[in-house]
Symmetry: C2
Subunit: 341 residues, 2 copies
């Protein structure tokens, strides 16, 4: 069955499609949170009930192709939302989704993607408390966009604010997601069978560490679009600080490195979807790495630190120490991959 314009009418066809795509997959206890209400009432909003230290996040997801080794647009939307909350120190509680689909798409295809998303949310007990479905004509949109707002509750909210002396920690091997999407778009998946997206939620591994170390974690981010290059630059731009990273310390799988090297692409600019980067108080940096490893992030490691140089040329910049000991500026420019995350 294909998506028709009538599925976007807001009326009975929309309800039926929402029932099939979303509600039929949601156990009743995941339709609301606390004492509020959500998708158990079919209206345009959700009521959270009373709570404190609420953290919100929002992102639109679109990817070409919609399915890729390791996941799909649905996995990406769920994990991306979860990780955006986790890096702020928040335990994901609920989400709202807005799905925009092209007229003519196979409903089965949309269905499996929505299933991927809800499966991830359900595995972690995250409620889906509201949402929307819109259909656009085929000449206006060719596939599917999922926008998700995530709601979480935090003990300690991480406000990205790095300080001199902070150690930079990367939780796992970088550039995996971007590399596989790039390979798919170039029609090279057959040649590079060992590439696979790292898309995964960081609830079990990273969140307990942030909760435990609280204010010792000065910044945390999932370096998706734009990779490490963009995230690290965001942390220092406009300040008199410099982040110095050691390229040889950054974890990256050999297959990923070789694939990107062959194309002349810097892995620092390539998206991760299951990795976080942290700036932490140097007194607890080693401990945090140990904790992350114990919880399953076995390649977590310190890759650099935050410095204050007297030369203003370095202020607000990210500097990489190359494999041969040279220093280069890492620009906040990403691999311009269409629709990577």
């Amino acid at each position: 069955m294909r998506i028709g314009i009538e599925h976007g009418s807001g009326g009975i066809e929309t309800w039926n499609l929402l029932e099939k795509l979303v509600l039929s997959k949601l156990p009743p206890h995941l339709r609301k949170v606390l004492d509020g209400f959500g998708t158990d009432v079919l209206d345009d909003g959700a009521y959270l009930g009373s709570s404190t230290k609420i953290v919100l996040t929002m992102d639109s997801y679109t990817v070409n192709p919609l399915r890729f080794p390791g996941g799909s647009l649905g996995t990406l939307a769920a994990c991306g939302t979860i990780n955006d909350l986790v890096v702020m120190g928040a335990r994901p509680l609920a989400a709202m989704d807005s799905i925009v689909v092209a007229e003519g798409m196979e409903i089965d295809e949309v269905d499996t993607i929505v299933k991927d998303m809800i499966d991830v949310f359900a595995r972690y007990g995250i409620a889906l408390i509201g949402g929307d479905l819109k259909v656009m004509p085929r000449n206006s949109l060719d596939s599917m966009i999922i926008t998700v707002a995530g709601i979480g509750v935090a003990k300690h909210v991480v406000r990205d604010s790095v300080r001199e002396g902070d150690k930079i920690i990367v939780t796992g091997p970088i550039a995996e997601h971007g590399a596989v999407i790039l390979a798919a778009q170039l029609g090279m998946l057959d040649q590079v069978k060992d590439l696979r997206s790292d898309v995964k939620p960081l609830i079990d591994t990273l969140l307990p560490v942030i909760e435990e170390y609280g204010s010792y974690v000065h910044a945390a981010r999932d370096p998706t679009r734009g990779g490490l290059a963009v995230t690290l630059n965001e942390w220092v731009r406009g300040t008199d600080l410099t982040i110095v990273i050691d390229r040889s310390a950054i974890p990256i799988r050999e297959e990923v490195k070789n694939f990107l090297d062959a194309l002349g692409i810097d892995p620092l600019t390539v998206a991760c979807e299951g990795v976080a980067v942290l700036a932490v108080d140097p007194r607890v940096a080693e401990e945090i790495v140990e904790e992350l490893r114990k919880r399953g992030e076995r390649m977590a490691t310190i890759v650099g630190e935050v410095k204050k140089f007297s030369n203003p040329v370095a202020h607000g910049k990210v500097v990489a120490i190359t494999e041969v000991g040279g220093r280069t500026i890492v620009e906040p420019r990403a691999l311009n991959l269409p629709r990577i995350c």
Copy 2:
């Protein structure tokens, strides 16, 4: 200047574009709410600070054409978000937006649309605390989609739950927005110059009334996509109740009625963007109409009521009394207009 794929990179071009499109328009006090933080920190989430009875809403907006008599996609996104909160009884506090634009769009065009949105939010002191910008290739998307999550705080949350005896109130003349979009899509704007979208926020007129009458308001909704037909059906479907409305009582401007009549379209199925429909306790219905009129909704009026019939054929249905006294079922099927709201 046109949107380029590099504007979607997440790096410096994206920051510059966000600065131009969004941040430059936002006064500092509208970048966060309460004691939390929002767009004053450039990350992927927002922290609300502590608060109670928080109401959330989310919707994707797309319309063809992007500008129309009475407003634009930006006006629509802001007013739609505000009204979704207001009909739940919530005072809008903050919003997060996710903008997806097609590569090649004029940045000036995107800019004026974002300005329309932020102008509405700013007029009511609503903060924009987070968001996202994505660019899709031209062959995948032809214009622009804005998804907005709205956050509000409510004294009394309206949970749509109609009861036997409730009076149905419409706050203003219906079908104005849908009619003008239809005219635009049919290339008829020159012929029907008196059509104009009713898009507007209901904060000053409806919200104080809901706040004042609290639990006497059993349901409230802005009948956008799908019009009154879909909203009223949503309220009774699956129950043993029937909503009976009097067609001759429903406010509609002569020009709108004539235009839709000529096309054979039922105004009940056509979108409004500045009108709400309420189901209220009959003991306060007249009072509420008076309050609404005093606050500027001068055409607010009672158009029907909720009944319980013994004949199960009528259960869960909306019945209209026609101008000649007959009875017809109003189906929850909307005018299938592409991208109306």
